[in-house]
């Protein structure tokens, strides 16, 4: 227990749920495995989506690529959040005070915010036909997206080494 952590995180780690996660042989490793599998799905979907916004697969209508890719990304993100919560609760007071975990949290917020902004941009990809140029702000947002999510993945693995 890291006494420097906020009281509610110490309570969360000490809770019956936290205890159950640590005591079980399979819950923690399963969450860990599923977290990585979900990350693979998420990274694949996000990369396809962002590459389309950057002008790849120019023979397709952007919406035909982006819509299914986004559904997979959202589903994978929910799985990431769920399994991530299990991993977090087991060591909440320690992990919350880890600077890389804190950076990861901010990066995730930035990534989600970026995605929400893209979804609301007036120059919507919905109206774009195959081969038409992607508006520069969508291209910029796609580059930001790839950079942020790669940094999130790197930060996630680095938590264990700081």
């Amino acid at each position: 227990m890291n006494e420097a952590a906020p009281a509610f995180l110490i309570a969360l780690e000490a809770s019956a749920v936290g205890h159950a996660i640590r005591q079980s042989i399979w819950i923690y490793p399963s969450a860990n495995v599923l977290h990585v599998v979900a990350l693979a799905l998420f990274a694949g979907a996000v990369t396809v989506l962002d590459l389309r916004l950057l002008g790849a697969f120019a023979g397709t209508r952007p919406a035909d690529v982006i819509r299914p890719a986004r559904r997979v990304a959202v589903a994978a993100l929910l799985l990431l959040a769920g399994t991530g919560f299990v991993l977090f609760v087991a060591e909440a007071s320690h992990v919350a005070m880890n600077p890389v975990f804190q950076a990861k949290g901010l990066l995730i917020a930035a990534g989600v915010l970026n995605a929400l902004v893209v979804a609301r941009l007036p120059a919507d990809f919905d109206r774009l036909d195959a081969g038409s140029a992607i508006p520069s702000r969508l291209r910029s947002a796609a580059m930001v997206s790839i950079a942020i999510w790669l940094a999130v993945a790197a930060a996630g693995r680095l938590i264990a080494y700081v």
């Binding site: 042989i25 910029s140 930001v144 940094a151 264990a160 700081v162």
Partner: protein, 117 residues
């Protein structure tokens, strides 16, 4: 372009935010200064992500971090082997962050040695 600059700044600050508080992995343990902690087990948490003991030696109380539960069991280091009151000898590396903590490379209890890595 400004968006790209912001992205680069975010990534760089994430990388720069690195050193300080620790836990887990072998990265924050100094393998160049191996120590052997030998003594009686005071407390034993046989749980994930790592089994953790406190061990009373002649000088002080050490925290000894072992392997995840499934690996402990696979290798025959069941909960009873590292139970409270057992005499243990743990060879490992001191944490560069936590005071008086080692991550054990191997442990020996009652003549039985188990590798933790």
């Amino acid at each position: 372009m400004r968006a790209k600059l912001i992205a680069a700044a975010v990534v760089l600050s994430a990388v720069a935010a690195a050193p300080s508080i620790a836990h887990h992995g072998w990265g924050s343990y100094d393998a160049s200064k191996p120590v052997t902690v030998a003594g009686k087990i005071l407390t034993s948490k046989y749980e994930n992500p790592h089994t953790t003991l406190t061990v009373q030696t002649a000088e002080k109380v050490w925290t000894v971090t072992l392997a995840p539960v499934s690996r402990m069991q696979t290798r025959g280091a069941i909960a009873e082997m590292v139970g409270v009151g057992k005499e243990i000898s743990a060879y490992g590396y001191p944490s560069t962050v936590e005071k008086d903590e080692i991550r054990a490379e191997r442990i020996t209890v009652e003549g039985k040695t188990v590798e933790m890595r």
